[in-house]
Assembly symmetry: D2
Homo-oligomer: 333 residues x 4
Amino acid sequence: MNIAIIGYGYWGPNLVRNFSAVANCKVKYVIDARTERLETVKKAYPNIEVNVLADLAMADTSVDALVIATPVFAHYALAKQALSSGKHVLIEKPMTATVAEAEELIELAKRNNLLLMVDHTFLYTGAIKKMKELIDANDLGGIQYFDSTRINLGLFQPDVNVLWDLAPHDISILLYLINSKPYSVNATGISHTNNGIENIAYLTVNYTNGFIAHFSCSWTSPVKLRTLLVGGDKKMVVFNDLEPSEKIRVYDTGYNFRTDEEKKRLLVDYRTGDVFIPKLEMKEALLGMANDFITCIQTKGVPVSNAELGLEVIKILEAAQQSIKQNGKEIKL
Amino acid sequence: MNIAIIGYGYWGPNLVRNFSAVANCKVKYVIDARTERLETVKKAYPNIEVNVLADLAMADTSVDALVIATPVFAHYALAKQALSSGKHVLIEKPMTATVAEAEELIELAKRNNLLLMVDHTFLYTGAIKKMKELIDANDLGGIQYFDSTRINLGLFQPDVNVLWDLAPHDISILLYLINSKPYSVNATGISHTNNGIENIAYLTVNYTNGFIAHFSCSWTSPVKLRTLLVGGDKKMVVFNDLEPSEKIRVYDTGYNFRTDEEKKRLLVDYRTGDVFIPKLEMKEALLGMANDFITCIQTKGVPVSNAELGLEVIKILEAAQQSIKQNGKEIKL
Amino acid sequence: MNIAIIGYGYWGPNLVRNFSAVANCKVKYVIDARTERLETVKKAYPNIEVNVLADLAMADTSVDALVIATPVFAHYALAKQALSSGKHVLIEKPMTATVAEAEELIELAKRNNLLLMVDHTFLYTGAIKKMKELIDANDLGGIQYFDSTRINLGLFQPDVNVLWDLAPHDISILLYLINSKPYSVNATGISHTNNGIENIAYLTVNYTNGFIAHFSCSWTSPVKLRTLLVGGDKKMVVFNDLEPSEKIRVYDTGYNFRTDEEKKRLLVDYRTGDVFIPKLEMKEALLGMANDFITCIQTKGVPVSNAELGLEVIKILEAAQQSIKQNGKEIKL
Amino acid sequence: MNIAIIGYGYWGPNLVRNFSAVANCKVKYVIDARTERLETVKKAYPNIEVNVLADLAMADTSVDALVIATPVFAHYALAKQALSSGKHVLIEKPMTATVAEAEELIELAKRNNLLLMVDHTFLYTGAIKKMKELIDANDLGGIQYFDSTRINLGLFQPDVNVLWDLAPHDISILLYLINSKPYSVNATGISHTNNGIENIAYLTVNYTNGFIAHFSCSWTSPVKLRTLLVGGDKKMVVFNDLEPSEKIRVYDTGYNFRTDEEKKRLLVDYRTGDVFIPKLEMKEALLGMANDFITCIQTKGVPVSNAELGLEVIKILEAAQQSIKQNGKEIKL
């Protein structure tokens, strides 16, 4: 199977390296508008063809699939062209700049019987796989909340706010881990530059079944935090992505309550117990993602990080943006 | 000066111990409806008079001031009675259950020429004093954000939600550190018990001048966090109250931006530098608060933790509750 | 049962409080040469008799046992007098200033059919009990090393060096956890004051069976560390006493080796796995110690922290001092 | 300037990459006995000549310098051949297997007017440079102790013990930071394999002037620690190499003492103050080392990590080994 990778920026070298390691997969083209980036490709991979335009790769019938790793605004047009040219498509997160674009691409892929997939790499990490396993085995009990913090002194993006930049990771994790449907969002935020692009933002995703998710994102924190809490009514999990090996901690912590009907009072029993730090699979997540893409093309399977999940991420981001611009108003999904 | 302390629960012993250590101040009465609590007082302080009712202390003309440390719902009635009886009054945080009550008490104190004060103890800690000092000296530059996390496996309160229970600490710190007026609030939250009292809640306090404050509170976290970030355009500070001695870290971290007019692009320079951990004053905060109360009675001064600040806290809490009940709608202050 | 406590310094109040909480035990006397210390006792415990001399308590036939909490140099004489007067004796660690004194006291107690015990409180903590449990259940496999670090900016003692001050805790833990007999010691150290009393010292305790123990002690570290590593050939444990609740971490970490006879090469397989943080018993250790003392008097049992263990601690300390003074020479035990 | 690199194991790729980045320096040869390693070189650097034997490079008059990155036992013979062939030589740490070998090489280099240097990379890190700067500026006052811990679950080396494997880093730092001459060593350790090679070892380096250094090394710890404490009589520094950015902490911590002549008592004043975390230079240390080597060849200068320092490291290691084998006996240097 031959693939072409469009966009050779920060993430591009990782994509080339990992797709080159997938069995039966060959990176035939790398496309980037910047010739100096193409030089870098040539030096490291003399056998890969490079080009400043995608047209050749789109037209090459030996190319089975395109990987789109450009800035977000270019995702839709490139993916549309590729799907129309009969290529399977993998898009870097976030999938598109609007819900409408994402929906159109999904429709087009279905019509043309092609695989469309979004690269939410985190879903292939040992940590998130372990959390999924714990939740699916009901080890945590009924899940009650999801609380994510992703802050640091980060690169201000010129076109999208901090939620579009940082939250897709955690939103995709939320959607992957939690089966129920989100109902609405509220978001607040602030821009400290003069371009109206928020560098700090807070997002609540509401559900109708007693579950809540919250996201805190910032490009202007002096400390770097990458923390996720998931609480069930039996156990709770903390995922700290900055820990080199002990990323997941499972707390045998919880409470039970009952109502004393006579005294009309809530009675709560608290429980704290052992903490368990499972050893995690250490394989590179991006390789797992690349394998999932190639395998699902061959087997017509549904990848873990599928386009429908990618679309849900965009729905939440788009609604969050509306909420911020309307002073935190609840936006139904 | 003689004082009476009403309420001898969790905080009562600390109040008795510290007021006993203030020069020229004598704890004459301790009042509590529970006789077993009064036994404890008698054993530790044989010279203090105890009573199940406050009436005697209210009527005793040798009593100059009352300290009210009962559950919140009783604050207003007791404070009103005390102020009407010509006593100065200190109330534990939060001041009252409603804004209207707090405003009435402030009015009454003014009319009767008495000191009314609220015990927001954190304002007397070495850590918050140091932060105030840094901000007032303009070491941090213009303050841009305030972000507080206060979560743990905590006691579910029977009458107030997690914001009323945990946020008063950080809201009082916000009001003390930041001079500008908050404009509105948005809040979201969830109750996992069947009584409609939120055990997880998120609060954004909005300002009109490019500053934002956010609070994250939970009684259902497996980990305990007590963290506050304050970011200025010159430096940023992290306050971690769980650190035994290194509670405050000052980061020489920031960024500058300008707009490239030709390319319509934002250009950002990032800066990370030294970190400084100042040695903090280690005196007990509650003693500082007790001294402030007694001194301000004598000098007719304005205490750091004054009633107007206490009222602002209640305004934010009341608005937050409205916002939660209206699905995160912005509530103007 | 009536007891007298001799010495009301730093540790004295804890002893009085805990022995007062033991069933069927009454603290009848507190003795201290400093009258201002006795004032403190009278205020807190009006029913306890106080005295600057121990003679009255020694002579009082209603007193069953003496607890000696004076500086080390006074332990021997007081314990000897008490045992000769027919009293059971508990001595604070370290037991005595010399091995000879400790042996004499043990002999005397045996002859007079009295209980002699040393207070190595750590043996009654939830953390050390858990470690003992893990080792006795063979969860760690064969124990291979013990490595203790106990450093901070500490009070320079006027009469004993840093090993006598800090190491008794960890040496008692070593002797409690490990069944085999130590063979010899090597120690090095330095005095930065002009009195020849080491403020930094390092101690190796050698065994003949492939086990080694090492202790690092300092009064002149800018950071406080209280860490103990115990490694078995199946699992390893880290005890960090500064962690508020997660004091014990059990690592499923280890290695297996075999020798490739042909190539004369060592082949090693490494294994890292889950980490487990057991919930520990949170009862006050000193109360457990006090109960053990009183119970063993009544039942003629052998306490966990018995005099023979206390003597072994002194043997190691005395040998360590000899080794330091002879430039680290091995001293056989 | 042309160089040849002999040995392309774990460290080899880093050497090739960094020497390739030095101005006016070309890596002409890479030598390794394993053809599969040479394949790797060819793929990454098609222009570098590769060979299983060093003879060609030794004979090539266009080659100015050799970098020796083989196992330790081969260092001496290769360096001798290179120096005899008129090449400058850089040897990976530890310099040689014996003091005699190191001394002979130094002598030979001097005679042939060639640069002989040892790669103690740590001396070129931002952290150690900052410590050197603090010490040279007398910010710490008179240095009193040096305490290093370097433990983890590490690769058992087949030919050298844990001190020879791990301690050279910290011994080179000691020698670089501290100007005075060590006087003697004591070392203890244990082998848990059946080959007599210690996997845990403790080393004290004694000085005659009131300074002491201690090293704790292990291949069998479940936790990884890389900590160095350096205490002066004014301030103390902690270097934690596992911290991603805050590697150095300067504590304004100390004590003063005087002797009360009348009471023959030591009086000590303790001081704890601010902590300062300096921002460190982030350049790759190995590049600094490579530059130092090339520059000193050109300028006939003395590199920071010079052969005399490398020899002193070997002297300490050799003495340590003797001490371990003689049960911790003091070995004079």
